[in-house]
């Protein structure tokens, strides 16, 4: 797979902090795949920022030796957009969970898609809130209250009688918003995941990777074994540039297709637009505060 000689090895991205995740957490697989992918892309850790929100997976920046930004819950995308717009020379990677990205931060997602900043977003989707110890998340798939056979108040702490809401479909939403690169990975398929992250990092624009990353402690339903049985590789003859086909694929919710679901390489990035305007105005020569004041004289 990786044929080019990397100046930075995966271990060069590793910080001296030990991950705080539970044994068996899917996020270990994502961390290791990310380090491999950065190594393949030969990202200089000093020129790379990993941005996160709040949650189990959002602690990832601390385990990497790159620059990191661990902000507030749900706002990782706008923080990253600010960083990348101010510093287009940096590699900007965003990490977080399904609660951080699709619930509290869900309002930022479509707008990030509209802007299409050149950033890569890894959502470690464990279909639960892990850091607060096991509540439903927007991607949780548990029985609806009205469909539950019996009242079972043990397993899900804030929905003891079943869920009142339907889960969202992040892939279908992302296609609707025209996120310019959409892929789904699985932390228990590390090589496949590494390839997807590399493709995402190389994509010019906003890349979303929804990564099934099971929580062994608080999600006894979507376990690694369950997900192994409920995922399949997108066939080789699939054309991810066909948006209608991508929609059709995303609506298959019985099993999760793994691979690149959709890509739109023609969409200009926010950085392209900003740079274009700056360059065009620069042709008029530099502006000055004195020149601004002159308009009011």
């Amino acid at each position: 797979m990786a044929t080019e000689l990397a100046q930075f090895a995966p271990k060069d991205y590793k910080s001296n902090l030990k991950p705080i995740w539970c044994a068996g957490c899917g996020d270990f697989g994502v961390l290791s795949a990310l380090f491999k992918a950065m190594s393949i892309c030969n990202f200089d850790p000093d020129n790379t920022v990993i941005v996160a929100g709040i949650g189990c997976s959002s602690r990832l920046p601390g385990f990497a030796k790159t620059y990191g930004f661990h902000g507030v819950h749900g706002r990782a995308l706008p923080f990253a957009t600010g960083i990348k717009t101010a510093r287009p020379d940096l590699n900007v990677i965003v990490v977080g969970g399904d609660g951080d990205g699709y619930s509290i931060g869900g309002g930022h997602f479509p707008h990030c898609a509209r802007r299409n900043p050149d950033i890569t977003y890894l959502v470690m989707d464990n279909m639960t809130y892990g850091l607060t110890k096991g509540q439903v998340s927007p991607t949780s798939v548990i029985p609806r209250a009205s469909l539950a056979a019996k009242l079972d108040s043990k397993r899900w702490k804030t929905t003891p009688y079943g869920m009142m809401e339907a889960p969202i479909n992040p892939i279908a939403q992302a296609i609707a918003w025209d996120v310019s690169f959409i892929a789904r990975g699985f932390s228990y398929k590390p090589n496949h995941l590494t390839d997807l992250i590399v493709a995402g990092l190389k994509h010019k624009g906003f890349a979303l990777l929804d990564i099934l990353s099971p929580c062994p402690t608080f999600n006894q339903d979507q376990t690694d074994d369950y997900l192994k049985d409920h995922t399949y590789d997108i066939p080789d003859d699939y054309d991810p540039t066909d948006r209608k086909q991508a929609f059709a694929l995303s609506l298959d919710t019985d099993r999760f297709p793994l691979g690149i679901v959709y890509r739109n390489e023609g969409k200009p990035s926010l950085m392209d637009e900003v740079e274009f305007v700056q360059n065009r105005l620069a042709q008029n020569g530099p502006s000055s505060v004195e020149a601004l004041l002159n308009r009011f004289r």
């Binding site: 941005v51 507030v72 923080f79 004289r297």
Partner: protein, 597 residues
């Protein structure tokens, strides 16, 4: 007292939004500026999307102006509703110029009324050229009602018509001679109609003067935006909100030419997040908002304090709680600026006190954010943001900018949050080799690694707050302004923000009557220059703390931080103070009686 050749006139224009009140105001301002006069306007806009009553007050003076003035000498009322809402601002012996096509007010003893059939004259001017323009153009051609009003107003003021005529030629020249002629006709018809009515009646006169020095005619939002650029702003993100939007609109146009970038965010939370991200990346960044948006930013202001990221947050305060009164003014967000976090957090709070001060406070906001690596909240308000006035332009060559302290080669191994005496640690920016760290809101040790031990908790919190003590000690003196009596005073005024001009005018008026009045104006609210406040209070017998909110937020803050006693004077009506009401407060508190001149 004014000499015969001096001018100090207050003109108040009221009318339906969209029927030319604002353009009549703008034209009048241009004419008065052309006469060499100083201008200070005060506007209230309707919150309605279309329609509603606009009030546009213009004070014209032959010397520097401190406030919008007290009562209007002339009210120009384009409709009955506007006169009903804002006519009370006319002095008892004032002049009312009204659109007699729209309504006829009841005569009031003492007041002089001038009737002007504005629509009739405007239509007549349009009719006169109907054969000289294409039928299609005629249909779209608005009748020049505001020009009729301008002619009448200039006539009332005994102002020369020539600058207005020249202005009309410039403004409409592109549209052809016929349109110029129509507008000149309108101007003259308004002027002549009023001239006929004046007769021997006394009028407030204005006199053209030769202007001493360079002037710009600007409002507070514009000055703040220019000050921000001068202070080094290179990234802005914001969400539209009245009355702060104009800052974003100005910067959207200008910032890219300075190599900067601007993003219209999906909400205020995203806006501040983007600004903080950009600053983490090494660019000087800002957002501007008003009350509701400021409320949404509170969590991230806390983060910027905790992670020690420089950022400037402008709050153009507006009237009322909740949605409140978006187009009115207030100083009601002081508490939110000072206290608005969970737990406690170090932040700097500045307040702009005038249109000119908006420029310099913006520069200072960036310098302090960079020097102390924390959020700086800059309080402006609707009145200073939207009022247009003539001021000497700030000299950009006088601007000194400060950049954050960055690590040097010897700072290895690098610790982002290194404990220092001042509390300030070198801040690396991404790209600097061997200086990576995680910028985090989680409690952390000197290296930035998460840590919850009692030692880390106390060390790091005191480090962040120590920066404010450093600032208080080093710079407090620079953030107070002293006016009025230099020595012992009977009445001392302590205030902040956009009330400075009104308070100075009231102070000067009282001093001219022999009262001993001093005024300390705070430009920085946190850290509070407590020593300067206490020294000031020590030389004043009585202290007055006037502010534009209901509960006395500055008063509360003074009680927390100082031992001084004072009288709190609060007004929370969506409008600024007028000099006279402050003057009356001074007289009431003073042991001396004013010498009535």
């Amino acid at each position: 007292m004014l000499t015969s050749q001096e001018t100090d006139v207050v003109i108040r224009l009221v009318g339906e939004s969209g029927e030319g009140t604002v353009s009549l105001g703008d034209l009048t301002v241009q004419m008065l500026v052309a006469m060499g006069l100083e201008i200070y306007t005060y506007q209230t806009f309707p919150a309605e999307i279309k329609g509603g009553t606009v009030m546009y007050q213009i004070r014209a003076k032959s010397s520097a102006i401190l406030s919008q003035g007290d009562y209007a000498d002339i009210v120009v009322a384009l409709n009955a509703e506007g006169f009903g809402l804002y006519g009370a601002g006319l002095r008892e012996d004032g002049i009312l110029l009204y659109d007699s096509d729209s309504y006829t007010p009841e005569a009031v003893p003492g007041r002089t009324d001038y009737a002007l059939p504005m629509s009739t004259f405007a239509r007549a001017a349009k009719d006169a050229v109907r054969h000289d323009v294409e039928p299609e153009q005629l249909k779209r051609l608005p009748a020049p009602k505001n020009i009729v009003g301008l002619g009448a107003l200039l006539s009332l003021l005994n102002a020369p018509m020539q600058p207005a005529e020249e202005h009309i030629r410039t403004l409409f020249g592109r549209k052809g001679d016929t349109i110029v002629r129509m507008n000149l006709d309108a101007l003259h018809s308004g002027a002549e109609h009023i001239a006929e009515q004046i007769g021997s009646r006394a009028l407030p006169r204005i006199h053209a003067i030769e202007r001493k020095g360079d002037r710009v005619t600007v409002n507070g939002n514009q000055m703040l935006a220019m000050g921000a650029i001068a202070g080094g702003l290179r990234f802005y993100a914001g969400y539209p909100i009245t009355p702060a939007t104009e800052i974003m609109e100005f910067l959207a146009k200008e910032l890219p030419a300075f190599g900067g970038a601007l993003i219209q965010a999906e909400d205020e939370i995203a806006a501040l997040a983007m600004a903080i991200g950009a600053s983490f990346g090494g660019k000087k960044a800002m957002t501007a908002t008003s009350g509701p948006g400021f409320s949404l930013m509170v969590e991230e202001i806390n983060l910027a304090g905790q992670a020690e990221i420089p950022v400037v947050v402008v709050d153009v305060q507006r009237g009322g709680a909740s949605t409140g009164m978006p187009t009115k003014t207030s100083q009601g967000d002081l508490n939110l600026a000072l206290y608005g976090v969970h737990n406690e957090q170090a932040r700097i709070v500045l307040a702009a006190s005038s249109v000119e001060d908006c420029f310099w406070t913006a520069v200072e906001a960036f310098n302090l954010a960079e020097a102390y690596q924390c959020p700086v909240i800059l309080l402006s308000d609707q009145s200073v943001a939207t009022l247009k006035c003539t001021i000497p332009p700030p000299d950009p060559s006088r601007v000194r900018t400060i950049d954050r302290l960055t690590p040097s080669a010897s700072d290895q191994p690098y610790s982002r949050y290194e404990k220092t005496e001042s509390g300030i640690s070198p801040m690396s920016v991404p790209g600097m080799p061997n200086c990576s760290y995680v910028s985090t809101g989680i409690e952390h040790d000197e290296a930035g690694d998460p840590g919850y031990t009692p030692e880390i908790a106390s060390t790091m919190k005191s480090k962040r707050f120590r920066k404010l003590e450093t600032l208080r000690e080093e710079r407090s003196r620079d953030y107070v302004r002293l006016w009025g009596e230099p020595g012992c005073a009977d009445v001392g005024i302590i205030a902040f923000g956009s009330t400075e001009g009104v308070l100075r005018e009231a102070t000067e008026r009282a001093r001219a009557q022999g009262l001993k009045v001093a005024h300390l104006h705070l430009r920085m609210l946190n850290p509070l220059p407590a020593k300067q406040v206490e020294e000031f209070a020590a030389r004043c017998k009585t202290i007055l703390v006037p502010e534009l909110n209901y509960t006395g937020q500055l008063a509360g803050w003074l009680r927390v931080n100082t031992d001084i006693d004072f009288h709190s004077y609060c007004k929370d009506e969506g409008i600024p103070f007028i000099p006279n009401e402050i003057y009356e407060q001074i007289v009431a508190l003073s042991s001396r009686r004013p010498a009535l001149i």
